[in-house]
């Protein structure tokens, strides 16, 4: 799932929670909203945190694709395969050679087009993270300067409220409202100007802070901050950040009132206002975003009610509805969206594998739809003696045999090309154009349809005087024949992928979506062309089928 998709689907949910919050903030137990924000955070963070940094890159890549290049998504296969294929070079329809020069470069270009978006995201992420972390460490340094408090009430209170984590209570004159810092070794800091004689207020404050500690609220706030850093480009996430932080506070207030009883509500609210009053000398800030949070907090405190079964059921019902309607539908949506996107993401490595390894690489099954027609080079599969097959070919009258749905093709020893369009009944000789080997070598380098391992070989053959012949078919299929003493090598350019089998002086290639029937016909052709004996052909065919069925999960053997 891309980062943008996650962000968008989470935004829908955040909006729903915001709406519910604006209507029912003071009616429902505050726990409801904390849980809903938790769901939103999971939507925002979980897939990202599970995947590797590379996946984040991929996610951002998707984001970029969605934003900038929908065209690339709609037709990723031909463009990438142009670059990656072995023999079967796929070109857009009617491609003049000059255009070939740029077409195969597209995948590379896409990669470099992606990076600005990824960079922008990374820079935003880094800035955002620094924005949180730098002040944190600066202030932490100051917090450490707090001094112990000598106050009997606090000592007594501390003894009666023991947590498994060691909680320190200290005093700091830099601050004006109580605060807690540290997740695993929490420290409660009280301002110096607090009224230390007013024990009931002190008890409220300490209980409030202890509730934060018990609930790991500092950790929650950091996770929220992480969500903001990852989704810094999404304003809804920022809104969620602010509201969720307020709700953590409200949830905490609720707990304090529960503990001390409803009678304490006014005292607690007044204590809050008193703390606000003591914030003196502060520079006035921009006012603005919605209602004053203090006011919201006071109303929330004053309206805190006993949780009845009715409100609990209402809260559970509503929260479940919101989650089911908004979180899961978004989830489904993202799944379908992901399935649209995935092929590009997952196929790219598969194609690269196919192109760069010298053995048959079973193409990842996820990419089946697009990799069906990937050519597999069987040449280097030592177990099934393709070199021996090639020896038989070289010993025969023919130098190459090719077959697809439309044509059978043979190259004779004298390099004439025979084509049959009726499954081998009638063969016609076709005329080929001569192509300058140097020009072709250059073209090949730029277009690079040949996987790395054979490019060098082909280039040296071309440099050493190999002849190049060219044939254009009616349906814009083109074929180049590289011919020298060691045999014929066919390079095929076709507008779209078709099932095919090829054996030439260099390789045996096969597309994975070939049917067993077609492979059978191919061996029949080898027999009728006197390349293989009938027994040899049958044996080879059986071995090949067995191998393909076993090794290529998406090899479509239709019988």
């Amino acid at each position: 799932m891309s980062l943008l998709q996650m962000s968008i689907s989470a935004s829908v949910f955040i909006l729903a929670v915001m709406f519910m919050r604006s209507l029912l903030l003071h009616k429902l137990p505050k726990m409801t909203f904390i849980l809903l924000w938790g769901v939103a955070l999971m939507q925002l963070l979980v897939p990202v945190s599970v995947q590797s940094p590379f996946s984040i890159f991929m996610a951002a890549e998707h984001l970029n694709k969605m934003v900038s290049a929908p065209k690339l998504i709609s037709s990723p296969a031909p463009e990438s395969s142009t670059f990656m294929d072995g023999t079967m070079v796929i070109m857009p329809p009617k491609p003049p050679i000059t255009e070939h020069v740029t077409a195969p470069m597209t995948p590379l270009k896409t990669a470099s087009q992606i990076s600005p978006f990824v960079w922008v995201w990374l820079v935003g992420f880094a800035l955002c993270a620094l924005f949180f972390i730098i002040p944190h460490f600066r202030y932490r340094k100051i917090y450490k300067m707090a001094v112990p408090i000598r106050n009997d009430f606090i000592t007594k209170w501390q003894q009666s409220n023991v947590l498994w984590r060691d909680v320190q209570i200290r005093q700091l004159d830099h601050i004006s409202t109580p605060l807690t810092y540290g997740i695993f070794r929490p420290v409660v800091l009280l301002p110096k100007n607090l009224d230390y004689d007013e024990e009931s207020q002190l008890a409220l404050i300490l209980t409030h802070e202890l509730t934060h500690i018990k609930r790991f609220d500092t950790l929650k706030k950091w996770i929220l901050a992480a969500g903001v850093c990852v989704h810094w480009f999404n304003p809804f996430v920022w809104v969620m950040y602010i509201l969720a932080n307020r709700d953590i506070e409200l949830f905490c207030d609720e707990a304090v009132i529960r503990k001390f009883g409803e009678n304490t509500k006014p005292a607690y609210a007044r204590a809050l206002v008193r703390l606000e009053e003591k914030k003196i000398g502060m520079s006035p800030m921009i006012s603005g975003f919605s209602k004053n949070p203090i006011e919201e907090r006071i109303i929330s405190i004053m309206k805190t009610k006993k949780i009845t079964i009715a409100t609990t059921l209402l809260a559970i019902g509503l929260a479940a509805c919101v989650v089911v309607v908004f979180a899961t539908s978004a989830h489904n949506k993202t799944e379908t969206a992901a399935s649209v996107d995935n092929p590009t993401a997952e196929i790219v490595p598969a194609l690269y594998q196919g192109a760069l390894t010298t053995e048959i690489v079973p193409v990842l099954s996820q990419g089946a739809a697009l990799t069906d027609l990937m050519p597999h080079d069987l040449t280097f599969n030592k177990k099934y003696d393709v070199p021996k097959l090639i020896d038989s070919l070289m010993a025969s009258k023919y130098r190459a045999v090719y077959m697809d749905n439309e044509i059978y093709l043979r190259v004779l020893r004298d390099n004439t090309v025979q084509i049959s369009k009726d499954s081998g009944a009638v063969w016609k000789t076709y005329d080929t154009d001569e192509v300058d080997a140097k020009e072709f070598a250059k073209w090949l380098l730029i277009n690079d349809p040949i996987p790395g391992y054979s490019m060098k070989d082909v280039q040296s053959r071309l440099a050493n005087g190999a002849e190049v012949k060219h044939l254009v078919f009616e349906n814009v299929k083109e074929m180049y024949f590289i011919i020298d003493g060691s045999g014929v090598q066919i390079e095929l350019i076709q507008p779209e992928k078709i099932s095919s089998v090829l054996i030439d002086g260099q390789r045996m290639m096969i597309t994975s979506a070939i049917s067993a029937q077609m492979l059978k016909s191919f061996y029949d052709l080898l027999v009728s062309s006197n390349i293989l004996s009938e027994t040899h052909a049958r044996q080879d065919y059986t071995d090949r089928i067995e191998y393909l069925e076993k090794k290529l999960p998406n090899f479509l053997v239709t019988k």
């Binding site: 300067m145 004159d173 810092y181 706030k221 007044r270 606000e276 006035p284 006011e295």
Partner: protein
């Protein structure tokens, strides 16, 4: 000359006033035991005192010498408060950008009336 000092700084000064010139290392030992500060924290505070001109560094051994007397030192009033912006968790920082403002006297009294009316 009157110098405003934070409690943390006063703790350091107190040691110097009581014990006279003291090496920084020794101050760190004392504060670690008495106040629970780490060595880094103590050195940070000493640095602040040096910057303010409350103490002077004398070599060798980083000996600290008080430049102000107990009478000249004054408790810092909580005017330059930091947690109006930040309270140990990252939220205040954002909140401060988006409307967490200091309340005016009118707003304070309005909130008080609000509590009264809801009581």
């Amino acid at each position: 000359m009157v110098m405003k000092l934070f409690d943390s700084e006063l703790h350091i000064m107190e040691i110097l006033w009581k014990e006279g010139d003291t090496p920084a290392k020794r101050i760190a030992e004392i504060t670690k035991e008495k106040v629970g500060w780490s060595k880094t924290t103590t050195y940070t505070i000493i640095k602040r005192c040096l910057d303010k001109g409350a103490i002077e560094r004398r070599e060798p051994n980083f000996v600290c010498h008080a430049l102000v007397t107990r009478e000249q030192a004054q408790e810092h009033e909580t005017t330059e408060l930091i947690n109006k912006m930040y309270d140990g968790a990252p939220d205040r920082l954002i909140a401060s950008l988006l409307g967490q403002k200091r309340l005016s006297a009118e707003e304070i009294s309005r909130l008080k009336r609000l509590i009264d009316s809801m009581e």
